[in-house]
Symmetry: C2
Subunit: 133 residues, 2 copies
């Protein structure tokens, strides 16, 4: 049970886009470089964020990625769901008569985590980092 490396890339990229927010897009080349990942692969990941309406891509020279949604509203959960999907942590395969009690209990636990990830916005971390430096 681990979050994928792709989610790691997505979170750091969004962190960066929020920190350096500007009208001009930032190229995937540059975004990829400081994370030590290939531009094509990062692009594949960022496309999911585009489809989720979080960022937009501008192709052609001077193109790249920039924020689309309000940077104050973007939460951890938004990004994680965009990359990992929204299927629950646990789905019981066992053929029960009624619903599986174990499954619903784990769902409750997962929701506790999701609440926290939903409440925490990336902008909070950006501000925190600025205070630290």
């Amino acid at each position: 049970m681990k979050l994928s490396k792709a989610t790691d890339y997505a979170l750091h990229t969004m962190f960066h886009l929020i920190k350096k927010e500007s009208a001009k897009p930032i190229g995937v080349q540059q975004l990829a470089e400081y994370q030590d990942v290939s531009p094509t692969y990062l692009s594949k990941i960022l496309t999911k964020l585009v489809k989720a309406g979080m960022i937009e891509s501008i192709s052609g020279a001077q193109g790249g990625y920039k924020l689309k949604r309000n940077k104050n509203d973007i939460s951890f959960l938004d990004i994680i769901h965009a990359i990992e999907g929204t299927t629950p942590l646990f789905e019981c395969d066992f053929h029960h008569h009624e619903g599986c009690l174990i499954q619903s209990e784990i769902k409750n636990a997962e929701e506790k985590m999701n609440e926290h990830l939903r409440e925490t916005k990336l902008i909070d971390l950006v501000k925190k980092e600025q205070r630290l430096s």
Copy 2:
């Protein structure tokens, strides 16, 4: 990000062992049957629970598995950790100067989930099921 099927088997087996607690062990054959899984594979999984001190195994004729720890103390988290291990949900690979803020934030969220899984004991579900039937 999913819990493994092995964890599903482990949880249901523990649920069953707690529900039917007795001095006589229950054979893996029987435990495997109602979950539609092979006995050898289930045994591999249950061995982890044995090593975690949760249950004990008795070999030879009339052998099988029985509880070792107090059934009132066994939580969801105990079982999940025994099977999945305790490595955190998220580990940032990126080379930061200081600690990764993203990683520590996800750790906070995970801890919220773990709190719930630690507080919820399997015996609670067993009692709940008995009330329902």
